[in-house]
Subunit: 148 residues, 2 copies
DNA sequence: AGGGTGGGTTGTGTTTTCCAACTCAGTGGC
DNA sequence: GCCACTGAGTTGGAAAACACAACCCACCCT
């Protein structure tokens, strides 16, 4: 951190401290697809095995994933999302939507079917009024709200 | 990339290639707060100056931010979100909500006031039916949809 | 006995990132 | 004129993160 830094207090930054390193969100993506085993996660993400091992440890330490033994002798584990981890799927969905729109406008690599029968097309809305929400639409308040 | 890797085709991964490096999303956060100048972004994010310079170049090259000269002699620039960049604010909002819930349950560092008068509390919904959307609720289809 | 799978760890490089210090062209004070 | 300050970077050297093949161990199958 440079000496002249005075970082904004911010939940975005704090969340990224937990899941913002390379591969972490892709691990969560794999778990959300139902892929639970080390080797499969390596194959599907492209992360190297040592880094993946360390990411899994960190995510587990922070209560985002849970390790479950499915065999003793030899010890074998599967990884699952905790409820807190599952809430991060929102983030994936919004990232996916941006990439679908801006990087694959004609053929999204994956579609999720929503319970309404349509492919999911996620929007972020205000839970109070249902209107679209966007950072910057109005002014922020609170400890981290400085605008310069 | 390990030899046995066969990474999933995925818009999440492709989006993270553009904005997933450390500091990139915090740069976008600062621009969304109306902070536009190099030194202020350094101060508010805590990124080092060289890394910030390289992130700004990359984001500009990918059409997420735009550089605008506000002084000649000496040349001085401000940074702005492009429309594509502004759409990434959704991601920030969802990350912020997760951090507010799980890391600052009692006192969120920042609140955004929505046009309805309430503080914004973002939810991700399906644009077709308005119901809550979540990855994993139903099965994926498409080129990147394998579940093992 | 030989090969394959699962879940890692180790050793050894390569690449990023960090941070202070420096630059260069103005601006404001006195 | 002289000094300090600001803005927007760039540079050099050290530290941290990352990559990748190779190894390990214990089962399982044939």
């Amino acid at each position: 951190m440079p000496k002249d830094a005075d970082p904004r207090e911010c939940s975005v930054a704090d969340t990224l401290d937990l899941v913002g390193e390379r591969w972490s969100l892709l691990v969560i993506r794999e778990l959300s697809y139902g892929v639970r085993r080390f080797d499969r996660i390596v194959r599907n993400t492209g992360a190297s095995r040592d880094i993946l091992a360390s990411r899994l440890r960190k995510l587990e330490a922070n209560g985002i994933i849970r390790r479950e033994r499915y065999s003793d002798h030899p010890a074998r584990y599967e990884y699952h999302l905790t409820p807190a981890g599952a809430e991060l799927c929102d983030v994936l969905l919004v990232l996916m939507r941006w990439g679908d729109r801006h990087l694959h406008p004609d053929d999204p690599p994956v579609r999720w079917q929503h319970s309404c029968g349509e492919p999911v097309s996620p929007v972020v809305v205000c839970r109070h009024c249902g209107g679209e929400a966007r950072v910057g639409a109005h002014s922020p308040t609170g400890r981290g709200a400085r605008t310069s």
